[in-house]
Structures are given as structure tokens and as C-alpha cells.
Symmetry: C2
Subunit: 317 residues, 2 copies
């Protein structure tokens, strides 16, 4: 059973709800990057978003949507990092507790971010099973509302507000590319973009080493990646039922890239565009550079999903 899918109406309501708590992020262009890609790129800078990632949008929408009784018991989640920081921040805005189950493999900078917003971390092993069982214990103990990182219609609607801003600001986009891990950003983007700008295609960008969305779309059923190894730490999760249903309906296709292409695209954006992006963001840029046949000569929006990296462990060092 899939619950009612969110649509453009929910994305627009989310935009109103979160407006005063998140950045309307800039769209950046770069001639030298366009030349390399063979198309006109419009980079939506969610790396410059609060908490350094688009996740601020969905988490804030979710926390502000809770009824007062639910909110009083706090919120909880499991996350590899950016959703955790975003939920902790959103909870702090509303003055409620945030309980965060975080894998021991998460980068130190992401743990520090959660703690900086007052989030209470419970460590777990870096597997989906461990995350879920630890979270269940936390929810049982606290009564907190579980805010899933992506398989939640309110989180998806919030994530879609970045794409809504992008198509509102850049006319005539032929395509928008967003990275896909659990699918919250891609599904939210797909709703916002295809429903408000029918001429614009939405593509997913995925590491070949964690290609569950690509395989699931081909198979017509969710085929999770089991403990995938990719530098794009934000994209190791697999689709949920809700994100899968939306992506099947609204997304043109999923394109994949290998690890070397991800690292090269990340470095290219740092060097040429002067933006610090994390590997997950670089996947979307890498897809445009690698799959030129899909984008040549067109106007292409790219959602740079986040910029949280550990500067002491850069992937090209």
C-alpha cells in the first residue's frame, strides 16, 4: 500500500511553511563548465543551504507540520548525516528534542553538526538493519515522532521546494538533474518540476556502485543495494516505496557514473565554479558530463544537493 502521493500543491505549501527558516539559494552559472559539458548548466546551490544541504527543506517542513502534542515528544530519525543535522536544526527552531541514530561510519563533521544544533546522537552499526532496530528502541523509549529521511510525503514535499525555486528563476529549462540515494530529493524535484513546468524533463543521477534506483526502475520493483561502496556517502541508501512510486511516474530516467567520474566532477566544480560540493552533488554534474547525448545543446538545471565534506580527507588527495 502506497499512501497518497504528494503533488505540486504540497510542495507549494511546504515552500510557504519553511520560507523564513531556509535560504532561497542562488543559481550559479559557469562558462568553462558549460564548455566542457556542451550544454548550458544552471547550478542550484543547495550546498549553500542551511546545514549545508537540501535536507534543511524537508526536515523543516516535517517538524513545522507536526501537531503540538506530537511535537512536544520530539522527533527522531536515522541518517548518514545531512538529514540528521537538518532535523536537529528544525527541532531547535521549534524548541523540541531531536533524537538522532547515526552510523559509526558517518564523517566527523556531520556528527559535530548534529551536536552543534543540540541533537542527541545514538550511534549504531552502518547497516540499514542496525539503524532501524536502534531507532525503534529510541522511539519506544521517548515517544518521539519518527521523521524518515526520505520515505515521507512531507519530507519529499519540502525537498521539492529547491526545484520549484529553480524553475521559477530560470525559464525554459529542458531538463533538471538531481542525485538519487533514498530518492527524497529526486522525487520532490520530479513533482515540483514536471507539474509546474511540463516541458522540463527530470533525470536521476546515481553512482554505478550504488545503482538500486536504476535497477529498480528497470525491474519495476525495488531492488535495494546492499552495503554499497561509493564515495558519494549521501547516496548509499536505497529507494523507499513512496519515492519509488513517484520516480516511476515522473522521472525520465536514471543515469549512472563510476567513482572516478564522481571525484573528477567534484574537483572540477571546486576548481572552476568555486563551490565546495560533496561527492553526492558531484554525481549529478558527472552525469551531465558523461551522458552528453541526453543534454547536448540544452538548458539543464543541476541540483547541487550539499557541501558537507571533511577537508582533511578529500577524495583526490
Amino acid at each position: 500500500m502506497v499512501p497518497d502521493l504528494p503533488g505540486l500543491r504540497e510542495v507549494m505549501a511546504a515552500a510557504d511553511r519553511i520560507r523564513s527558516h531556509v535560504h532561497h539559494t542562488p543559481v550559479v552559472t559557469c562558462t568553462s563548465l558549460d564548455r566542457l559539458a556542451g550544454c548550458a548548466l544552471f547550478l542550484k546551490c543547495e550546498n549553500l543551504q542551511k546545514v549545508g544541504a537540501f535536507k534543511a527543506r524537508g526536515a523543516t517542513n516535517a517538524v513545522l507540520s507536526l501537531d503540538p502534542a506530537q511535537a512536544a515528544r520530539g522527533v527522531a530519525t536515522h541518517s548518514s548525516g545531512n538529514h540528521a543535522a537538518a532535523l536537529a536544526r528544525a527541532a531547535a527552531i521549534r524548541g523540541i528534542a531531536a533524537y538522532i541514530v547515526m552510523p559509526t561510519s558517518a564523517p566527523a563533521v556531520k556528527r559535530a553538526a548534529v551536536e552543534g544544533y543540540g541533537g542527541r546522537i545514538t550511534p549504531c552499526l552502518p547497516t540499514l538493519a542496525a539503524r532501524e532496530s536502534t531507532l525503534a528502541e529510541v522511539v519506544e523509549r521517548t515517544g518521539a515522532a519518527f521523521i524518515h529521511p526520505y520515505n515521507n510525503p512531507v519530507v519529499i514535499a519540502g525537498a521539492g521546494t529547491a526545484g520549484l525555486e529553480l524553475v521559477g528563476e530560470v525559464p525554459g529549462l529542458d531538463a533538471v538533474v538531481a542525485p538519487v540515494g533514498g530518492g527524497g530529493l529526486l522525487s520532490g524535484t520530479a513533482i515540483a518540476v514536471t507539474e509546474s513546468s511540463p516541458g522540463t524533463q527530470v533525470w536521476g543521477a546515481e553512482p554505478a556502485a550504488a545503482d538500486d534506483a536504476c535497477r529498480s526502475l528497470a525491474a519495476g520493483q525495488i531492488l535495494p543495494s546492499i552495503d554499497p561502496k561509493t564515495v558519494a556517502d549521501g547516496l548509499r541508501t536505497s529507494l523507499g516505496e513512496l519515492t519509488f512510486a513517484i520516480i516511476r511516474r515522473h522521472v525520465e530516467g536514471i543515469l549512472t557514473v563510476d567513482e572516478a567520474a564522481i571525484v573528477a566532477a567534484m574537483r572540477l566544480v571546486w576548481e572552476r565554479v568555486k563551490l565546495v560540493i560533496e561527492p553526492s552533488s558531484a554525481v549529478a554534474v558527472a552525469v551531465v558530463l558523461a551522458h552528453r547525448e541526453s543534454f547536448a545543446g540544452r538548458r539543464v538545471g543541476v541540483i547541487l544537493s550539499g557541501g558537507n565534506v571533511d577537508l582533511d580527507h578529500l577524495p583526490w588527495a
Copy 2:
């Protein structure tokens, strides 16, 4: 003899002249940086400017201001890097030659940028004397118009357009801080900001290891730094007569910071703000963090002058 100083009228004319050739760069804010600084910072992102630096503004204004006969013989300059790339690009826009005298110590990424825009590089030793004699030979041979990197009223007026955009976009700024090397950015900013927003102070930010502007202002005469050693490679040059005259008249003061503070501020902006800035830009951020008494509780614009760095040689590695 100092020539007539440019004023707000010249900055506004420059803004009109260059508008279609440069970016109106975004202004970025960051709560965690504000908390550390104890004031509200508005970061003017000239690192996202064409050629990765504010220098695109002055060079473009200079090239587009040349009369056709002068322009036909091309332009020439000496530069540690960003002005060189900017002049090469501006010349390419107008379809004329750019002859660039560049010290052998310039970062590889800056040489590559000049060549990418079709500029013709003549290498020289990294001293002001070697730059000037090599440039004289080039100008003698080609008849090109010398476009000084900073001690030129048209270049200064162009540089001032960043500050003009900043005060036009962010109301009620108490202060604007810009780094100072040769003084083109600082003097242009001072004209644009103090003449269009009389309540806003302008401060210069300088490495203590290359503090000629600070010493010159105190002494009432230009006291150059001789071959200074600082990580802020764009700020090793000393004031010219023109920039000195403007800075004396319009700038509140020059504040200095040590090398460790510059590197720490650079890393902080990369990590928290997600912007790639070069060390020269970090000097302005470091000044705000180090001289809290001048900025506490105020609204402070900071001009992030550029983002051209060699990712293989980061100063904290």
C-alpha cells in the same frame, strides 16, 4: 601629481558598461559564521565572478573604454594572476590581443587560465622591477596599451562595481571590508560605498606580513613592502599613488592579521560557508574575526575577492 580621482559617477558608468559581460554575483549569509564573528556578515561572492575574481570588473571596464585605434594594438599588463586572466578574457571579448607579463612564481592554475583565454604570456622574475622592465619591452615591441592592475582610474571604477551591487542589495550596512594589495578593490569599493551609502564605513584588510597599506596610511606616504612573504598571493603588491590617494580620503582604517589567522579563516569559509575562496579573500574574513571590537553586533559586508587556488597545494595540508 595625482590624476583626477574617479568617483561614484565613474563607478556607475562602469557598471553600465560591463553589465552584460560579468556576473551580478550573489551575496551569501551563514549563521554559524555570524556566531563566530559576533556580527551579521554579508559575503559578496566575487569568487563566483568571471575568471574567479573581482578583477574581471576592472579589466573589462578598461578594455571596453579604449578608443578603437588604441584597442587595435592590443592591451598589456603585469600581474600575479587574476588581473592577467581578467585582461585576457576582456581582450578576447573585444577581439584584440592581450600581452601578459607574469612572474614565474604565479600558481600554475593562474597561468593556465590566461592561456585558456588566448593571452600571450611573457614570464619574468617575481620582483616589481623585473615586471616593469619586461612590460616596458613588451609595450615597446607591440604598441599595446598598458592596463595597470590597480593604479588606473578605469580599473578602480570597474572594481568598485562589486561594492555598488552590495550596498544596493543589502540595506543598512554599517561597514564593508575589502582586502588590500595594490588597492584597486579597496579604493573602488571605498568610492562606491561611501559615496552611495554615507552611513557605511569601509575598512581595508591586509596581511601583517605585507602591511604596506597600513604603514603608508600611518606615515602619510607610500611605504612599499619589499618582496613580502604571505600566503595571500594576491596581496603581495603595494599601493600606487592613485589608490593611496583614494584610500586616504575614503577608508576608515586598515586592519591586519597574521598568516595563521588567514589560513584558519580560509578553511572556515570552505567548511562552513561551502565557498572556495583564495587566501586573499580570507584576509577580509580573518580581519572581522580578529578585530571584533570594530564590528561587534553590526551589519558587515565582506568582499570575497576571488577563488582561484591550486587544489594540490592547500595551505592547511
